[in-house]
Homo-oligomer: 353 residues x 2
DNA sequence: TTTAGCACTCGTCATCCCTGAGTGCTAACT
DNA sequence: AGTTAGCACTCAGGGATGACGAGTGCTAAA
């Protein structure tokens, strides 16, 4: 059977309608829509065909039709009409970005929250490292006040971390200088795995009076490098799912939400190409998510980091709107992180002890 | 009417039972409990008294009784039997603490998650500053590689933050030294509010070649100070509420969860005295939370910081268990943060640009 | 090829009734 | 005086029943 233009038009109308109402849509409703100039009987025939072709499903005999996964797929691939953001929308988002992202740190949490609020669905934000393993580029040791000093570690990923270390023992300025030099000489360009106990003891030997500091510093350094490697996942707005009619049943919501932990998110396939990727229902990894769809996109943070934002919602979600909002958001983030001067980007946090 | 010992015993039995089953408990069930050596009729009489006294309520005529808020209050105040943590419990918690808190930063998020998992309820963790306003104690400027330098700011709260700043303009080592000296001279011991535009322009005048850097640095400094002031709230495990029978209805769950944002949490009264404070139902601030209780406790982070953890759940929650777990947790955290040497405490994060 | 008409299906909703848990009261018992 | 057995009464919950209506598929006419 052939997928005529009219069939496509009807399918689109059905999906559009179902997305709005979340209820099976009947032939009459479609026939009544503006632009449809055939009778309900004709629609019925076409709907029967579409059902046979696998694009529609019938929950039960005397109900209307709902789109099948294949139907959604077809819809997002070629039928969906682009959603145009209104001026208001873009404006309010711009403001929100300016305002919120000023708060240091926790940026990705904020990003997640904003996406979630804007799409009214659970959202996630992921940062991950692309490219080479993180290594140490430079150490710096500053003496603060008596008995304490600040360790500053810079990695090849342009990240700087620091830690305030307090020690009872008294170490002289020149000892710290020596230590700093030894560390720089020994650990530069090594990744976490390459820092072996042997290296540690070698450093310790040459560190002079500050030898006791070495294990502390090295431990800290290894942690930093390890932390750089693994990607961070921020998941927020899970309760937003409860607003969706398909999750009026707590059981259902729980099933999805309990599988939707950070582990699962981290394993979601990254968008391969194109600005936005959509996973429809059963295309998802976990079978518990077979009735949910994921829309995601990536953006560039710079410095070998890459971000990903996405939302999770019922298969019946407003793909056009979500897609538009998500990509606008990602674009804004890219711009924001890309800025080279005083960006409210990833920020430092204090080390306290 | 007098609250005899027997009445108390019965009330306790009723609350205990209701906490377990979440269903109105009848006279028969109480009479059948071990230790009860009177008949159901007697229990009925006593229950009628307790109802009259305001400790019990009757959902409808032919149902059993449920505790009223006053009943809960009495229960937590004097009736509740201490819950003893099993060896297994303490052990698994200890392990979890060791394991999880190694990950820097996000510590409070982790804490929140752990509390939530352990109590199986939504949990929050708050950090707040006690005592004086944060001020800058010391600046340090390190030149990294060409065109970029690292700004390190130390505050009176023993917090160290840094930021990597890249600039197209070329600034000499001695200019940075000068700038650093000027900054230290001008901004030390000022709080965010005290840093006025006048001071800024004064610094700018004396900063020589690095004058253009001044606004950037000052802005960053102010942000840090401001960030130190406000307390951070981490709320997790909201969906845990769905597991509770009283929230099988999505509407109810949504009502609570939507009011339960970080704003509200931040405004919860801090525990005044004693290790654990319990807010029963209507004692809560927001009227939407009238059917939920909050159990919270505080712990010391050190360095003028104070932490608070709490859980939110139905009025019918296992206060004894939650209280025990929460205080054990807080104790552990206090120990952990109190350690003075290489603690997995608040850590630094990288500044990237 | 389209459309009107019509019989048929089946989920939803309101109604009704039954059942059983639980109560309050009274009268007998200790 | 306090306790207990007995009993009538109340009322929420759960199934059964039937009317209703939205929606379908088919047929025959346009």
């Amino acid at each position: 059977m052939e997928l005529t233009e009219r069939k496509k038009k009807i399918l689109r109308a059905i999906v559009d309608c179902y997305i709005q109402t979340a209820e099976p849509v009947g032939s009459k409703a479609i026939a009544a829509m503006p632009g449809m100039d055939v009778s309900s009987a004709t629609i019925r025939n076409e709907m029967a065909d579409l059902t046979e072709m696998g694009y529609l499903e019938q929950p039960h005999t005397s109900a209307g039709r709902i789109p099948s996964p294949a139907g959604y797929r077809l819809y997002v691939n070629e039928l969906m009409e682009g959603y145009r953001l209104s001026i208001d929308e873009t404006q309010s988002l711009n403001e929100a970005m300016e305002l919120k992202l000023q708060e240091f740190d926790k940026v990705m949490t904020q990003v997640g929250k904003m996406v979630s609020n804007w799409t009214n669905l659970p959202a996630y934000a992921v940062t991950s490292r692309v490219g080479q393993l993180p290594t140490v580029k430079h150490f710096e040791i500053l003496s603060a006040h008596t008995g304490s000093f600040i360790l500053v570690v810079m990695t090849n990923t342009e990240t700087v971390k620091n830690k305030l270390i307090k020690l009872p023992l008294n170490i002289q300025e020149q000892d710290l200088k020596l230590l700093s030099a030894v560390l720089n000489a020994s650990l530069t360009d090594l990744s976490a795995e390459q820092i072996t106990p042997e290296i540690l003891s070698k450093i310790r030997k040459s560190a002079g009076a500050a030898a006791d500091l070495v294990p502390i510093i090295v431990d800290y350094t290894v942690r930093i490098l390890q932390e750089q490697q693994h990607s961070d996942v921020y998941l927020t707005g899970q309760m937003k799912l409860l607003g969706q009619p398909e999750y009026r049943d707590v059981e259902k919501a729980q099933e999805v939400l309990s599988t939707l932990d950070e582990e699962v998110i981290a394993n979601l396939p990254a968008p391969t190409d194109g600005p936005v990727q959509i996973l429809v229902g059963p295309e998802n990894i976990a079978k518990e998510l077979k009735d949910t769809s994921v829309v995601m996109t990536r953006f560039d943070i710079g410095d070998g980091m890459q971000g990903m934002i996405g939302v999770v919602g019922p298969t019946r979600m407003d793909y056009a709107q979500v897609t538009a909002r998500l990509s606008y958001f990602a674009e804004g983030l890219g711009r924001m992180f890309g800025k080279n001067e005083l960006p409210p980007a990833k920020e430092s946090d204090g080390g306290t002890e």
